[in-house]
Subunit: 324 residues, 2 copies
DNA sequence: TCCCAGGCTGACAACGTTGTCAGATCCTCG
DNA sequence: CGAGGATCTGACAACGTTGTCAGCCTGGGA
């Protein structure tokens, strides 16, 4: 900038004014400066700029579990879109479901003076963010609630969606519903399970022996479905609590030519091409992410109202559920 | 930092030494400083730090077309992994296939003093990056070549993969191969088409009337496949140049109960569940991205050797190709 | 005894930018 | 013709940190 100023025969302050197109610069002086900028290939140092002028790095931090996962990729895409509408860049970090790493990364993002944080939490204690938030770095949590920190939260209606889906199974006459899930250590699994249980309990059909935990991949899901079907009193319907599990269930049911009803949580792209009909509790991931991002930008722009908890609705997409 | 220094009764420089755990600080002084840091909730300002100490923002920029697209999400994931191994954060921007936006975003990333750039180019002229590169911000291009800029490039073996796949079709006795692609404005499409044509020409089977352009979505692909099959002399095999096109082709061939051979470029997750057998020219997106990222970090660490062009091999994954 | 090396500390300037303020010029209006 | 505002410009300090350097102390060897 000093060089540009020298070449244009003005002060650095005037160069600053020109590159920020501030008012009160004579057009011909501005021309000279711009010529010098072009000649020297000058580019303003954004770091120095935001260091001097207080905050506003025009950057937000997004913390997710893993970028390559389509769910998080969709979130990242929607957030990037909203960020771009606000001329803001996106710093992305992956916690890999590791709370210690999450904490480390969030601290690092704050150290980089991001204007705000969007977090899909991995750990369950975020008290360490309190001081940052108080100091003016707003944080919005999505998909899972924050722990130990009053902050905005945007969640899916996991419980309501699961409840509606299972109620539908019950209405179709199913009396034994196999429930397949990963770990109850995961917030979304707990909520979906609770919703399903509520529906079954209301119908007097709750039976914990039909709940299978710890299913992490399609292969395990397929095996567990097989085991349940081989029991003396097999379920006539299955509820898969996420889409990896749904996938395995589809494979096994198809392989056996079963006529069991299959309900899944989470839609996925190719579901209409799959060889077994199944109905899903669907939701719009982009809406989840956009809602959270828009809330964050309202905070960044100075909204200091009380933390909000928003719920994104789910929808039952019926692609065929056999009656019992 | 001034406050921490005051509270600990030392100079700011000593605080700086402690937070950077530099040598030559008495353990008990360091203790006092750390206590003050904890009490005040001090966090080092990474902006100021990298402004003062020259470069090394420990941040790289990744420019892709669209984060939500699984191909780019996989790239982003692999890049994030390599970045994390180098204690570096990732600034992600989406060009949305718009060259003007690409240029704007790349400039912005440079202004943010990233240590390096990873670019999946949208435009075909990147001469404007020359000055940045000369000034020491290395750039590595992946999936598509850079234009007007000598820079490292990591590409897929599009031509070789397409060639091998089509040669296989020819060996199985197919004489009429329908080729389905998006626009030849896209580098990868041009290369794949060239590879396919080479194989057909070598066998004396080239027939441009069987090439269909401008296919952007599965629906169009399905329609075009139908049209080709309805011709008096229909193809006995199809080559779909990307996976959106493959998907439409699968649907239509399945719907008609056709026995045509289907070859696709790009594998995808659920392909083994699809209702029609098809063989793909597959590649490892993660390898593509990791290779590029690792090359970038070598550059960042000071490797000044001549720009390299790397080719990531493809593999023919046979899931069934009917003979003619 | 002195000297010097090594450990430890702080004052100061600087990174590249912009906010503040004061000064200079020009125009307009009373 | 003068006052006062609008327009334009630059000197200077400051943002939060770290590199440089000088200085202090302690201990050990000559």
């Amino acid at each position: 900038m000093v060089d540009v100023a020298a070449l244009a025969g003005v002060s650095v302050k005037t160069v600053s004014r020109v590159v920020n197109n501030a008012p009160y610069v004579q057009p011909e002086v501005a021309q000279r400066v711009l010529a010098a900028v072009a000649e020297l290939g000058f580019r303003r140092n954004h770091l120095a700029s935001s260091l001097r002028s207080g905050q506003a790095t025009a950057t937000i931090g997004l913390l997710i579990e893993e970028i390559a996962n389509p769910f998080y990729a969709t979130i990242a895409g929607a957030v990037a879109e909203v960020a771009s509408e606000h001329d803001t860049m996106l710093l992305i970090a992956s916690s890999e479901e590791n709370p210690a790493r999450e904490q480390q990364l969030l601290r690092d993002l704050c150290a980089r003076q991001v204007d705000g944080l969007l977090v899909v939490p991995a750990g369950d204690d975020h008290a360490f963010l309190c001081s940052e938030v108080e100091r003016g770095t707003p944080a919005v949590f999505l998909d899972r609630p924050a722990g130990g920190l009053p902050a905005d939260t945007v969640l899916l209606d996991n419980r309501g969606g699961a409840n509606a889906g299972v109620r539908q199974l019950v209405e179709l006459g199913h009396r034994r519903v196999g429930i397949l899930l990963d770990s109850t250590a995961i917030y979304t699994m707990r909520e979906r399970l609770a919703g399903a249980r509520d529906a079954l309990t209301a119908a007097g059909l709750a039976d914990d022996r039909l709940i299978r935990y710890g299913i992490r991949d399609p292969e395990t899901a397929a095996r567990v479905v097989g085991e349940l079907l081989d029991e003396p009193e097999p379920p006539s319907a299955f509820f898969a609590l996420n889409n990896r599990i749904s996938l395995g269930a589809v494979e096994e049911l198809h392989r056996r030519g079963s006529d069991a009803a299959l309900l899944g949580f989470d839609d996925f792209d190719l579901s209409r091409l799959l060889p077994y009909p199944f109905t899903v509790v669907a939701y719009d991931t982009r809406t989840l992410a956009r809602t959270a991002a828009e809330l964050l930008f309202r905070r960044i722009q100075g909204d200091r109202s009380a933390p909000r908890d928003l719920l994104i609705p789910t929808e039952l997409v019926d692609r065929g559920l056999p009656r019992r």
